[in-house]
């Protein structure tokens, strides 16, 4: 019989039975949904009480274009937003910066000043819609803009629900939108968490992402292990500031992927939830049960999709949605079938949204909590995954802990090594991909001409630059300069930078100016190039 292995590496047996779960203790390892250690899910009734939040990742061109797409999806039953920013915005460069050439409005919407954020959320009530912001290196500034827009709309601070990603460690490992060196970057992460915990109690000021590290090539077990290590690093940061764990931990959230083998993915989340609960209660002494809960967005993972016969990606998306539902996702977002080609079309976005709706309404996957519990296979897999995750966490500790492993580049090198191993398995066919390395169609080598490609409009940059120039001309320049000076001064000191950043944002200082005010003090990150 052919050997089959989990993406995590361990072998999968052809049959499982009671002997495989003999070590599993119901009370200790599984328990009831909504109760410690939350293996079965963080809520008692899960989707019977409330379906998962559907939150497609959207953003392109100008704030006005993105605003229109937001409204399109909301008009079709999407209940929350997930915002994509272009690369200059993510890296703190203004649209007229030389390095922004060719990138303005491309992979997300361009934001230069508060005026852009006002336009992006015009007509969207921020006290009613929850919005996640895919922003990391510039999370403090973009979230400050978001809070300022909410304030201008008259939204009460305790009604504002936003989730800035604000996970810089995974940017150093996988996604690359770092700006400052590791230490000041971590300070900014902590500043935003602390500020939000104090003033915006329903916001989720950090979303710890295993997702991007998996997309960059790591295994399922590593995805969870690195995510848990990163979360622990942020908890340590806050504790070092003397903030009690229960003051901020209930608002920590996660962002993971579920594109692999369905049962392995489910096991990964079940194991992850109980490891997180044990870590928060045991190691960090959290008393509030909400602090123990691993609340997560489960996303697709575009890396699961293939370019050949792209419509088949719709089917892959449906399996991802099923895996997400069986895994107990709080929020879901799916990649779109055209993702290997282009910025998603409205049609592709709608299909992804409909896929989630079909999974939630029609498939029955949401009828009862953790329907796979008690399966010999899934419980055994959950235990195996737990063991593997703990081993990967121990490896990170041997690298000197997650922060050191990131600074020196050891973790980045391990992720690249895994990506290469994965690629070799695709070449050998050990990991099958229909249409790519098995059941290959006639025209596999050709790109699909039917896919509607996003027509990038070069006028976007010009419009954005014109607006930026107008704002620089019309604003009170001395107020902006004063705020930026205060920000630099505070960066040299130890105060929470959210306050001067907010002041600068309100004075319509540009993102580039805000980034530079800190860069003058912090310098820039030097990537440890290892592969």
């Amino acid at each position: 019989m052919k050997e089959i292995r989990a993406h995590a590496g361990f072998p999968i047996k052809p049959v499982y039975g009671p002997e495989d779960v003999a070590d599993v203790d119901f009370e200790r390892d599984i328990g009831r949904p909504g109760e410690y250690p939350f293996t079965r899910g963080i809520h008692t009734h899960m989707y019977r009480a409330r379906p998962w939040t559907m939150r497609q990742y959207v953003g392109f061109g100008t704030p006005a274009e993105t605003n229109a797409r937001f409204k399109y999806l909301m008009g079709h039953g999407q209940d929350a937003l997930n915002v994509a920013f272009d690369l200059p915005t993510q890296l703190g460069l203004d649209s007229d910066d030389r390095r922004a050439e060719g990138e303005v409005g491309r992979v997300g919407m361009a934001i230069d000043t508060l005026a852009d954020m006002e336009e992006a959320f015009a007509g969207i009530p921020l006290d009613r819609v929850s919005v996640s912001l895919t922003i990391n290196g510039m999370a403090a500034a973009i979230t400050a803009m978001y809070y300022a827009v909410a304030e201008k709309q008259g939204a009460a601070a305790d009604r504002v629900v936003t989730t800035p990603q604000n996970d810089i460690l995974k940017e150093f490992i996988a996604r690359g939108t770092w700006i400052y060196p590791v230490e000041p970057s971590l300070r900014l992460v902590a500043d935003l968490i602390e500020f939000s915990a104090k003033h915006y109690p329903r916001s989720n000021p950090v979303s710890v992402c295993g997702y991007h590290i998996r997309e960059a090539g790591c295994t399922t077990a590593q995805e969870m292990a690195y995510g848990l290590e990163i979360a622990a690093a942020y908890v340590e940061l806050m504790l070092a500031r003397g903030i009690p764990v229960d003051d901020f931990a209930p608002r920590i959230s996660f962002n993971f992927t579920a594109w692999g083998k369905i049962f392995e993915e489910v096991a990964k989340f079940r194991a992850g939830r109980r490891l997180y609960a044990r870590m928060l209660r045991g190691r960090f002494g959290a008393k509030n049960p909400k602090s123990w809960m691993f609340r997560t967005l489960i996303g697709g993972g575009g890396s699961a999709f293939v370019v050949q016969e792209p419509e088949n990606n719709i089917v892959r998306g449906a399996y991802i949605a099923l895996a997400g539902a069986l895994s107990g996702a709080q929020t879901m977002a799916l990649p779109t079938y055209d993702e290997a080609y282009t910025i998603p079309s409205a049609k592709a976005q709608l299909i992804a949204l409909r896929t989630m709706q079909i999974c939630a309404e029609e498939s029955g996957a949401a009828d009862t909590v953790d329907p796979l519990a008690g399966s010999y296979y899934v419980e055994a897999l959950t235990s195996a995954m737990e063991t593997q995750i703990l081993e990967e966490m121990a490896r990170v500790e041997r690298m000197g802990g997650i922060v050191e492993a990131v600074k020196g580049g050891a973790l980045q090198a391990e992720v690249a090594r895994q990506a290469y191993l994965f690629e070799q398995k695709l070449v050998s066919g050990e990991i099958p991909k229909v249409g790519a390395n098995c059941h290959v169609g006639d025209k596999a080598a050709e790109a699909d001409r039917e896919v509607e490609l996003y027509a990038f409009d070069p006028q976007v940059a010009a419009a954005q630059v014109a607006k930026l120039e107008r704002i620089r001309r019309d604003r009170d320049n001395s107020a902006a300069a004063r705020a930026l000076r205060r920000l630099s001064d505070e960066a040299r000191s130890t105060g929470n930078l959210m306050y001067p950043i907010l002041e600068a944002v309100r004075a319509y200082a540009t993102l580039g100016e805000i980034a530079r005010a800190m860069k003058d003090v912090f310098g820039e990150h030097k990537e440890p190039v290892r592969f």
Binding site: G102, R106, A216, Q308, Y341
Partner: protein
């Protein structure tokens, strides 16, 4: 044979770049990897300094036309046009011909199998 794998522009996705770099190394090629967010000029300088035969650019953000053009112009400006340029990433079908017109020796759009990429690199370098 020596190759520079480079990430021009602001795109932070380096999985493909690193996988190709590792595969080339395994194929016995000497590989230099630029790291993220290099400007076209930095890439040209590094290629000349390291005396490479081929530059492999990886771009997933959509800015491949502009960035490839800048690198090729840069090589010309330094009289180093004998260094071949190949490009991989999210390259839509309609841009492949456009890139070739700019002087890109070979394009690897999404979905190109790894062995094919390695074969082309080795061929380009041996023809130099």
């Amino acid at each position: 044979m020596k190759v520079l794998i480079a990430k021009p522009g602001l795109d932070g996705h380096d999985r493909g770049a690193k996988v190709v770099a590792l595969a080339l190394r395994d194929a016995g090629v000497e590989v230099v990897y630029s790291g993220l967010k290099r400007t076209p000029d930095e890439i040209v300088q590094e290629a000349i300094q390291e005396d490479v035969d081929v530059i492999g650019l990886s771009v997933l953000s959509g800015a491949h036309l502009l960035l490839s053009c800048r690198v090729i112009e840069g090589l010309r400006a330094y009289g180093a046009e004998e260094i071949k340029v190949v490009v991989g990433g999210i390259i839509p079908p309609r841009d492949v011909a456009e890139l070739r017109k700019l002087g890109v020796a070979h394009v690897f759009p999404m979905g190109t199998p790894l062995p094919e990429i390695i074969k082309v690199f080795t061929k380009e370098a041996s023809e130099r």
